[in-house]
Symmetry: C2
Subunit: 364 residues, 2 copies
């Protein structure tokens, strides 16, 4: 694994492929942290396992587990899923695993962004985050990929989406947050994204999903389903706090052009009814930084947009809500060549994210 | 990684290739243990690094490092050597990494033997050994190889050598020791070796190198250099305790036939003058099981036979002894197509082994 410090991917013909382009595999992390995963993480592990199995039907899945949890992971997962020992502070592969870029010859490299637990000492979610921050480089070493060192720029994989044709989509609430790169202007942040993802245009959605503690990652509210097409998390309930947020994103997208000069086609994906955490669930969580990790009644950032596009399937959340089926039908229509698989993911949602947050694709 | 419990390699056409057959790569482990590696393991790490670099000139080297030592390993080793996180109790890759077998189609599988730190609670060298014992399976998972589960049989990779043509060579002192498989007869042990390594003949040397705390592993006294040919560690000093031991091995080999019915050609490889551990070196070691790990003046099991055959080189020990050069010349003559590289390895020897003990080849 060569560490590349003095140049950016775009200068060498590398670009970040869209998630719907072919994958060599997928990276996940086995959940363990007692202030993230209620009641010893047993329910979360079951959901992680179902997701890993669904993805592994069409691409190789590698699950990272700590030394302490390796045997549990190996026992839970079927033989065709690879388990490797790798320590982390939590289980959000999307945000710690490398962002992979690829050139025209098919060579794949990683990008090692700085990671500070979604806001560092400003509004980060836990401390320390050193093991997470090491993962991108360790994964590139494991996979025998060279890696771009961009650790002086704080970015999580869940805060960016690309269409593979020159457009990147982010949220202002996240990328302009005080806890990430406060010394950089919006233009300077755009320049980093352009140089490292090899995109010509950055779409800036104003915000994400209400109470999304990642400062509203884009991957929970809006995702490309094809070049020029997105799904947007949507509620019809104008009295709900999310309405104005989704509306602001829609307004932005309706006036935007992508890198190729196309108007964006927006498919609304319904949100489930507001999901809140129960007293019983809160009792199963350790405290975090001396405060309760969750408080009863707290609203969780549930959204069907938080799906993973595998080679042969789309793996999406279910919440036991009437909208589960509507959302599934919409995605199935948008991905006619893939099987849409729905996994009940409340136990991941309580941890603070969903299926897209716990997966990272490796381009073919 | 499929775990195969109900059949043995020979039944499925798999055999253990000789070390001089082509490799896909080599596995090593980064040294860390304070009762094995004097003065914080710095000198040992330097030697490990030199060995890894020498091997990496002709095959891919993967070095396993604990979470705590990962960064040190990565900083010490050049970029083309892969470092992966994997915990262990010590650094003897030969003895914990899988023994690999291969079939005629080129498919490679691992064997996961039981490991009990060279004798378990009987005369083992440290406690616990659980992380070591897990490595074979974890390495097969990492390398995407299926694995034969033979954990009910205690064996270390350093206690066997094969010629790739049906012959295995072991020592009685080790394989018949009370701390390994005392419930099995010599014939039953032979049957396991035959079934798992796919050999027809087992050569039983009586013993190994004096004071070799592995119960005298074969890989420190005798090694195949080609089918039908071995090097044997030898001293001319008839007053030395080793003389009778090497002599007994020579007598055995001179009357033995290999699996193909050949007489064995024995090349004597001189031993260095007896090497003892110094007071200064002992002061740099933590105690082990409440006893000093080494005592000043203790004789170490130094031997040039403890070399590694890489694709393009033979990496062998040097001790700063006049015999260094003679031994090198003999090996260079026996391996005319490989460069013989000599590495000063006293710092590994103090740990309890040498170059062959800290490496494990993966067949191509």
């Amino acid at each position: 694994m060569k560490i590349i410090k003095d140049s950016a991917p775009s200068a060498e013909g590398f670009r970040m492929p869209a998630e719907f382009e072919p994958h060599a595999g997928c990276i996940m992390i086995f959940p363990e942290r007692a202030d993230s995963w209620q009641y010893g993480a047993y329910a979360a592990r079951k959901a992680f396992g179902q997701i890993a199995e669904a993805i592994a039907r069409s691409e190789k899945v590698t699950v990272c587990a700590s030394a302490a949890q390796y045997d549990n992971a190996r026992a839970l997962l079927p033989a065709h899923i690879r388990v490797v020992e790798m320590s982390s502070n939590d289980a959000w592969a999307r945000d710690y695993a490398p962002t992979f870029v690829k050139n025209a010859l098919g060579e794949v490299r990683g990008i090692d962004w700085g990671f500070n637990a979604w806001g560092g000492l400003c509004d980060g979610l836990y401390f320390p985050w050193d093991k997470d921050d090491h993962m991108a480089r360790k994964l590139c070493d494991l996979l025998d990929k060279d890696v771009y060192d961009k650790r002086d720029f704080i970015l999580e994989g869940g805060s960016i989406h690309v269409d593979g044709e020159g457009t990147c989509m982010v949220t202002e609430s996240c990328l302009l947050s005080k806890g990430r790169n406060p010394e950089l202007s919006k233009e300077e942040i755009e320049d980093v994204l352009k140089a490292y993802l090899n995109v010509a245009k950055v779409l800036w959605l104003p915000c994400g999903i209400y109470n999304d503690e990642t400062n509203e990652h884009v991957d929970n509210i809006c995702a490309f389903t094809a070049p020029g097409e997105v799904v947007l998390a949507w509620t019809q309930d104008q009295t709900d706090v999310q309405y104005a947020m989704s509306r602001a994103c829609l307004d932005y997208l309706e006036q935007a052009l992508d890198a190729r000069g196309r108007r964006i086609r927006v498919h609304k994906l319904p949100l489930p009814k507001p999901v809140t955490v129960s007293e019983e669930e809160c009792r199963g969580l350790d405290a975090c930084l001396d405060r309760p990790a969750r408080t009863p009644g707290e609203r969780l950032a549930a959204s069907y947009v938080n799906f993973y596009i595998a080679n042969g399937s789309v793996v999406m959340p279910a919440f036991g809500d009437p909208a589960d089926e509507t959302a599934r039908e919409i995605l199935q229509r948008l991905f006619p060549d893939r099987e849409v698989v729905q996994i009940y993911s409340r136990d991941i949602l309580i941890g603070g994210g969903n299926i897209h947050c716990i997966t990272q694709q490796i381009p073919e």
